[in-house]
Amino acid sequence: MNAFEAFGLQADTNIDLSALASRYRDLQSAVHPDRFANATDVEQRIAMARAVEINDAYNTLKDPVRRAMHLLSLKGIDALAASDTSMPVDFLMEQVEWREALADAKLKEDSERLEEMASEITSILHSLGDTFAAAWRGEHLPVATTLARKMRFMQKLGDEVDAALADLEQ
């Protein structure tokens, strides 16, 4: 079962996150092992497996990058396949610049710059997500695949900026 089906949704780029969170709570309320405290061992084991599936599906749907990868996989595309990792040169150059800026900000312990980077990355991710949605709906799958990979690059970068900020707080 794919993540959208687990939540009773059509596979689509458009997701209402607060409705998703609410449905997640309803689903866990129905299947969580704690709800089967008095049930048979078999029911408890099934409940455990279902709760795991729903947690996994929720994590896939609420994260824009994982959701994009999942949508592509429904079209038979593994965007993370090691066989094809080519990316546009200008994008890779930008990545190099980002990494240099990150290293520089870490060295200078410049938390202000890091915060700026974090919010820039967030807005870039948003616009990449919008472009991905348009490409996916228009069935421009190679374009969508490249966009999903770009999103993943940016998300990893964002994680590193967050980690750098957390280090400065220690």
Partner: protein, 629 residues
């Protein structure tokens, strides 16, 4: 089951079959036991009316074991045999203790290399923290059984949210050793959130700040219509009220110009005096640390409140670092927190409250007893897991793992399999491959922590997958699956997928006790008490069989429509067969038939679950149905 029962709100479906269940807060300094009575959670007092049992165990002469205040009374004159703050040593090795100022006992390890669960040397032998904690738990179990008038069905035991897998396993083993049926290990801040949330009918985003005697946790939860969803947790299992005492004790020691290393008795007296002064400074502007060293020699020092605050501000700042990390991980801003709930006796310190007020721009919530709130929440959860809660009065906890779980890869690096703050239960699989041509075995090293190097993480277990067919390097496909259950405990399995060679491990190697070890300890305990293991096995087999018969008979009645006639007849006859066996005395036959009936009901259970999911998706929840009925 619970989803299918429809009954009056606030009424247990079968009041006469209520099971006795308790919540136990096994604290560093004090422990408590609580239960639900007349629909209200309450802490159970001892004969003197005290709810808090000091977490102290003394191994006296002639096999006498004293617990609580009776033990504490000897902290001065029998310091080495009077163990306090044992929670700090749970799931820890001697090597872990380096630099721990509170480690004032004689330690040993079974292996001699400083690794593995440490033991504390007492006059009754070397005791593991698991055994010592079991004494405290047993005292609380006895208190509860006397107070409630019968044997306990089960208990929820709380642990710091930031406990790692080894520490959790140790806590669970201690409870089993005390003869408790562990319904769940529950994170302390989550337990507090349940007690607070249900009592105040709170909805929104809350931060639980839990500064106990020896551990610090911070958890951020979203409370919505009876669902308690933990968004992130952070903390420090070696930071608590004890450290504030130590800072004050060190200050006195230095001011007095003492140079000699103190005796264990001297240390214990100095810490007790420092603790007294710390507690006094919550209300008073000054307090005195006074220690009688014996032989007519004593020392005394006046400490002003401001001085105490500045001495310990670095400790408060450390808690705020964890608070910031939890907010970052939860992707929640400080101003979005609807309330900060204080838990743990150490949150009475005024500079802790002031720091939180400054950070969140509003005073923290201190309207529940910070000493009792964890035990009360555990009691509420225990009541539900024992099946006592009414259909309308149910809540759901969605908790997370505090630390990432991963595997060692080439070069001593960690590959994270399950990231921290993942909601449990959770399972993740990842594929690895061989490094050399013809490699037939693979060593898997399971670690927990956030750092990139294996050396900086906690080692949980090592195991080997053997019998991989020889292939060129990189051709084998080793699928490693990590599964974390609702107690937050990890199990790992590995399979070579092209040949189906398989290896499994439940991660409890050097820190917890093996199940066999617990069984033999329990057996000797029963032998001492004159109990009959055979009788116990029969009683347990009957309980399991009857529980299955009751649950399945009910399910078959309610959901007759999900079975065709042949299936219905088959299940009914198997239920009748098990009933018949349960009246006999062959515990092995009963256990076999129980398992067979469990297996036979698998399809039926799956159909019931599918139906429950469909109902959740169409929004037809039982509580709304109930209102119509």
């Amino acid at each position: 089951m619970a989803l299918l029962q429809i009954s009056e709100p606030n009424e247990s479906p079968e009041p006469h079959t209520r099971r006795l269940a308790v919540g136990i807060d096994l604290g560093t300094t004090n422990s408590l036991v609580a239960t639900i009575r007349n629909a209200v959670p309450e802490c159970l007092p001892d004969v003197d009316g005290h709810t808090m049992l000091p977490s102290a165990v003394r191994y006296g002469e002639e096999g006498v074991i004293e617990i609580g205040d009776a033990a504490l009374a000897h902290r001065g004159d029998d310091a080495l045999n009077t163990i306090t703050s044992v929670k700090r040593f749970m799931g820890r090795s001697v090597a872990d203790l380096r630099g721990d100022a509170t480690a004032r006992y004689q330690f040993s390890t079974p292996t001699g290399d400083g690794k593995g669960q440490l033991k504390i040397t007492t006059r009754q032998g070397a005791m593991s923290p698991i055994e010592i904690s079991a004494e405290i738990l047993r005292a609380l179990k006895d208190r509860a059984e006397q107070s409630l008038g019968g044997p306990l069905y089960g208990a929820v035991i709380t642990v710091p949210a930031y406990f790692d897998d080894a520490q959790r396993q140790a806590a669970k083993d201690a409870a089993k050793l005390a003869g408790l049926n562990v319904l769940r290990l529950l994170n302390e801040p989550t337990a507090a959130a349940v007690a607070y949330g249900l009592d105040k009918h709170a909805e929104g985003t809350f931060l639980i700040y839990d500064l106990g005697g020896g551990t610090f946790d911070v958890s951020i939860l979203r409370l919505s219509r009876g669902v308690f969803e933990v968004l992130a947790t952070a903390g420090d299992t070696h930071l608590g009220g004890d450290d504030f005492d130590s800072a004050l004790a060190k200050h006195a020691f230095d001011t007095w110009g003492l140079t000699r290393t103190l005796s264990p008795t001297g240390q214990a007296n100095l810490h007790a005096a420092a603790r007294g002064a710390k507690e006094a400074l919550t209300d008073a502007a000054t307090a005195t640390i006074k220690v009688n060293w014996g032989c007519g020699f004593d020392s005394s020092l006046d400490v002003a409140r401001e001085q105490f605050f500045s001495l310990t501000q670095p400790l408060v700042d450390r808690t705020l670092t964890a608070v910031k990390r939890a907010l970052r991980d939860a992707k929640v801003k400080a101003e979005e927190i609807d309330g900060v709930v204080l838990v743990g006796g150490a949150t009475r310190m005024p500079h802790v409250r002031a720091a939180l007020q400054a950070h969140f721009g509003k005073p923290p919530l201190a309207d529940m007893n910070p000493d009792e709130v964890v035990a009360l929440g555990a009691a509420i959860q225990a009541d539900q897991l024992a099946g006592n809660a009414s259909a309308g009065g149910e809540h759901l906890l969605l908790d997370v793992i505090p630390l990432s779980l991963g595997l060692e890869t080439m070069g001593g690096l960690v590959e994270k399999i399950i990231p921290r703050n993942s909601t449990i239960p959770v399972a993740k699989a990842q594929e690895f491959t061989t490094f050399k041509d013809g490699q037939t075995a693979m060593a898997l090293h399971v670690v927990q922590g956030e750092r990139e190097l294996v050396a900086d993480c906690r080692s949980l277990a090592r195991f080997e997958l053997r019998g991989i067919p020889p292939m060129v390097a990189g051709a084998a496909r080793i699928r490693v699956t990590f599964q974390v259950d609702a107690d937050g405990l990890l199990s790992v399995s590995a399979t070579e997928t092209t040949s189906n060679v398989r290896a499994d491990i439940v991660v409890k190697p050097s820190y917890g006790l093996g199940d066999g070890e617990i069984a033999s300890m329990l057996q000797s305990a029963f032998a001492a008490a004159g109990s009959d293991m055979q009788a116990r096995a029969l009683a347990e087999a009957r309980v399991d069989a009857q529980a299955l018969i009751a649950a399945l008979s009910n399910a078959v009645n309610v959901d007759r429509a999900l079975l065709n006639d042949a299936e219905y007849a088959a299940l009914s006859s198997q239920i009748a067969h098990l009933k018949h066996l349960a009246d006999g005395s062959d515990h092995r036959a009963i256990a076999r038939a129980t398992e067979a009936l469990n297996v036979a009901s698998t399809d039926f259970a799956g159909r019931r679950m599918d139906r429950a999911v469909r109902e959740a998706l169409t929004g037809r929840r039982i509580d709304s149905v109930e209102k119509m009925v």
